[in-house]
Symmetry: C3
Subunit: 204 residues, 3 copies
Amino acid sequence: MLHILYIIAITAEAMTAALSAGRRDMDWVGVCIIAWVTALGGGTVRNILFNHYPMSWVEHPEYLLITAGAAILAAIIASIMTKLKKLFLYLDALGLVVFTIIGCQIAQQINLPVFIIMLSGMITGCAGGVLRDVLCNDVPLLFHKEIYASASIVTGAVYLGIEYLGASSGIAIIVACVIGLALRLLSIRYKWQMPKFVYHEEWH
Amino acid sequence: MLHILYIIAITAEAMTAALSAGRRDMDWVGVCIIAWVTALGGGTVRNILFNHYPMSWVEHPEYLLITAGAAILAAIIASIMTKLKKLFLYLDALGLVVFTIIGCQIAQQINLPVFIIMLSGMITGCAGGVLRDVLCNDVPLLFHKEIYASASIVTGAVYLGIEYLGASSGIAIIVACVIGLALRLLSIRYKWQMPKFVYHEEWH
Amino acid sequence: MLHILYIIAITAEAMTAALSAGRRDMDWVGVCIIAWVTALGGGTVRNILFNHYPMSWVEHPEYLLITAGAAILAAIIASIMTKLKKLFLYLDALGLVVFTIIGCQIAQQINLPVFIIMLSGMITGCAGGVLRDVLCNDVPLLFHKEIYASASIVTGAVYLGIEYLGASSGIAIIVACVIGLALRLLSIRYKWQMPKFVYHEEWH
């Protein structure tokens, strides 16, 4: 079940990533690379930081084909995607919570401390988008957009909290996904933001 | 033979990288770091992704000295390099195919699937230039320039295809290098590009 | 002793990093992430390059809490920090030499060649600031500011040189720290810079 949601999520992430690449006039190779980095980069960064090999896309090269295909499709049907903007925002939110749960589970498997498990969820959920923005030469959206990384942290905390209270892993996943999704979607709807820190003194 | 070409290639990559650093008014430390990242970064990224240690430049620290020396030389003789622009474009193309073949061979040694072997070649050939552009705060050239990553993929595919047909590794290397080089040089000469995806709707 | 200096250094790095995040109008999550990357990123990059696991912040998650707390405090008292600018420049210089020594020691433990030990010191001292600048979409300051990476290299060279001459590790650390700090602080005071390489010919 989580695996099916994962495939849906990487496909959706790859498709929206393709539009970011289009804003920078990239060619189709660039579109594919940006899609790979966005959809699979979060898990890749997590695995590098926690020395967890092999990468999922080395064991399942079909993930690379699925995301490349989805990205090129998105480039072809870009005008339709613009109309489906809301659907893709929802799928991106789904991806965020699914990636987060998977990141927490992998950190649990390798017995990391509880704070690092939550961080692993956040890295898995968010690092792909940060890499996309770095490669597109933008300041990462993550750092000044609506509740995003925070929704990932909340998802991880709820998941761990419910498991700690003795519930089965399945129930913890469902509750955490629902709460995380609700938080993210409400923050899009009502433009909730974390408090911002604005500082323009000359320092260096 | 491949090893000699490798040394020539990292030297040439380091020299052209130095000019990129010069466009950003970097000091000599910056020039050396950009040269290292460009010349040795592709293999380093590949090794991190596939958990293949130690790095070549840890086993052979002389690679760091060669590339640093070449970069500082390039900064000194920058006006001569401008006149030799074509030579360095050719050497860069040579580097692309040599790095690609080496990347494929290392992935073969650790028994990765065939699609990942080609990807390993492309990462080895291209990631150094991407890191250079990120550190120089440019959108990576790779993503919107002439046939570059594609030439790397073709080189890897030809190499694997010919080996698969039963030819010796040496013949496969030579044929793949010739075809890859020809493709890259023709694409520079005739400004061949991959189709571009341009999309400027507001999305976020 | 070195450990206490390390805690002071990561705290100071996190606080100045928060101000960089403020220049880009980041929210508090962004501030924390930039602080983590700046304070702990150098050691993390070194560990990835030399396959040295686990990360210090996985073994000591309290480092993440200390730096996040320091960063948020810095955002709150930003106006006071502006007045203490000099203090933080000194603490940043302290961080540079402390990180450098620690980076050299870890490379010594895993028996790397002498040139790589110095490079490990420089990476540990400098890579966090480079990552901060990449995430804030700046050309890394390191590459065109006063003597910075060079001070790190000198610190490492003095440390190794004195140990080689037969002195105890403690004496080597103290002398290297004093010389490295003096070099860095004098270069700030008198605006010493490495020679710059400026090159604005069109190349690509």
